[in-house]
Amino acid sequence: MDILSSIPSSIVIFDSSLRVVFANRNFLVKSRKGEGEVLGKKIGEIFPPVILYYTNLEENLQAAQKGRPLDGEEMEYRAPGLASRVYFYSLTPLKDESGRVRNVMLFMDDVTEKKSLGERVARAERHLASVVESANDLIVSMNAHGAVMTWNSAAERILGFSAPDTVGRQFVQLFPDAERANLEGLFAQLIRRGEPQERESSMRAKGGQELLIAWRFSAMKEERGQVVALVGVGRDLTEKRQLELRLIQSAKMAALGEMAGGIAHEIRNPLAITSSAAQILLKKGADPELRCEAAQKIHVAAGRAATIIENLLRFARPSEGLVERVDLNSAVEDTLSLIGHQISLQSIEIKKRLAPQAPRVKGNKNQLQQVFMNIILNAYHAMPDGGGFTITMRAVPTDLQAAEQLPRAELLESAGHLASNPQSAIGNQQWVVEVRFSDTGCGISEENLSRIFDPFFTTMPVGSGTGLGLSIAYSIVRQHGGSIRVESQVGKGSTFIVSLPALSAVPACASPHADRPSTAQAGAQADRANGKLTTDN
């Protein structure tokens, strides 16, 4: 019995009349009883009635006496004056040589510590889960193959899909077709390199509405560095984007206010022509030649006024952020139709060197026009005493744009021959359409140059500018995946350069580097096209 005494678990042995015949030291210590208080007692006398009631210990003991062991149950036992402890107990029938049950052993293991550790783990898990659940951001985990494992309640709320809707499905299936390949590439990179990846993607919620979500994906690794799961945290940008749209709209209205005089003038000219020609018609309508001429002028002038108003309304209309194929040539022309005359009024001579065959860009024409409008208004304010304003457009490969190795004439040749090519890129070469706005105005000091795109930064007197125009131009261009930069010299003028990713690229034969015979011809054609369609002033 020495071994039983030193075992750190409680052992009590009952005889066939269910009286205690043995209790080890551990039991006596835990129960704060002396051996004499235990031996020969019935179970009801050594355990509190509450425990017996809840554990059915008495019946189980009787069952064990009949040969049915009890494998393991938990019970909480509080000895008088001690903190309650949790025991894991079992009942084992002890048989004699003939196989008859003589005694029953109650074995009680104190699992209070183990249990509280488990509870702490469970509590920590619940805590983390509630952090994930109460997050405003979408939190999604996937296995290494991209199948959704967990889906938090923000994801349910924002996208409308419940966890059972999505768990087990491929996460990328929740994205539009065009985005899936991008995401798969992104995940592959994430698994390969392990660096978190960010991406703004539009997603369609269960209800059908389109949402813009900014995702950050990271890899979850086990000890050996193997990626076991991917975690995506997404923020719903829809509301932010709507606020931005509202800001863009108010800045546009401010720009329109600045342009109002010029637009009035733009309409009063064709009105004057219409009115004069009508007066001539009334007075001298008998002359068939004059009658025809006057009627034509009325017709043309009315059309001109209508175009101006149409452009004005199209520009003023709140932009809904729709994405389309945009011809930057027409975006520049439409903008100039609204503001060009106001500029030339201030003795500013406008020169255009557009590239009618430059590839289209993906974007929102209304917003891009606003970018151009803001840059043009900035130039207008920079040249109060007149000057020159040149708009130059070209298509250029991104690496070439960075290096600027070739003379521009050559670039224009290649740019001229682009539009017909439906392919998005040749040999991974990315192209941009670049629009340069150069003025001969006062220029921007180096100190101001770094702040020129800051919201509310203005060098103009209070009341004459919002200071929002260029910052909005900046954010619109960034949203289009493009860039905007300034080069400036005080006293000489500034050049704003807007670059937007081209939707198509230049056919290989028209590439500046190609030396096949067709190059010369393509170049010459493009040159002719440029010569014919590029207008100066």
Partner: protein, 133 residues
């Protein structure tokens, strides 16, 4: 014959003014750029110039200053779809008698003819005006 120079970058405005003023018996020369106006005035005298305030490149105000210096006897009427007679540069010109009148676009051709007649009849007295503005 009274020679009138019309300077407006809107060709059709020049066309209408030429018909209306031609009917009155004036000889009209039309140009669409300030530089051309200066060249014409250097070449020969005009009794009157009708100059659009807004011109591409050199402004109408600048042009009228130059041609007024080239030929101080020539009378100048300004025309504009942008400015009103009350506008500062116009007021200034009228006060200094650089401009003898102002036409606001759109205009009544009869009133333009009447203004031209009045300005031509004027000796160095107060300026005249017409137009709806």
């Amino acid at each position: 014959m009274t020679d009138i120079l019309v300077v407006d970058d809107e060709k059709d405005i020049c066309w209408a003014l030429e018909i209306a003023l031609g009917d009155e018996g004036y000889q009209i020369t039309q140009v669409t750029r300030g530089e051309d106006a200066i060249r014409e005035v250097r070449r020969r005298p005009f009794t009157l110039a009708i100059v659009d305030v807004k011109l591409p490149g050199m402004s109408g105000i600048e042009v009228s200053r130059v041609i007024g210096q080239l030929d101080p006897r020539m009378k100048i009427i300004m025309i504009s779809g942008y400015h009103y007679e009350e506008d500062q540069p116009i007021q200034e010109g009228i006060r200094q008698k650089v401009y003898r009148g102002f036409i606001s676009k759109p205009f009544e051709l009869d009133e333009v003819s009447a203004l031209v007649r009045r300005v031509l009849a004027e000796n160095e007295t107060s300026p005249s005006r017409t137009g709806e503005g």
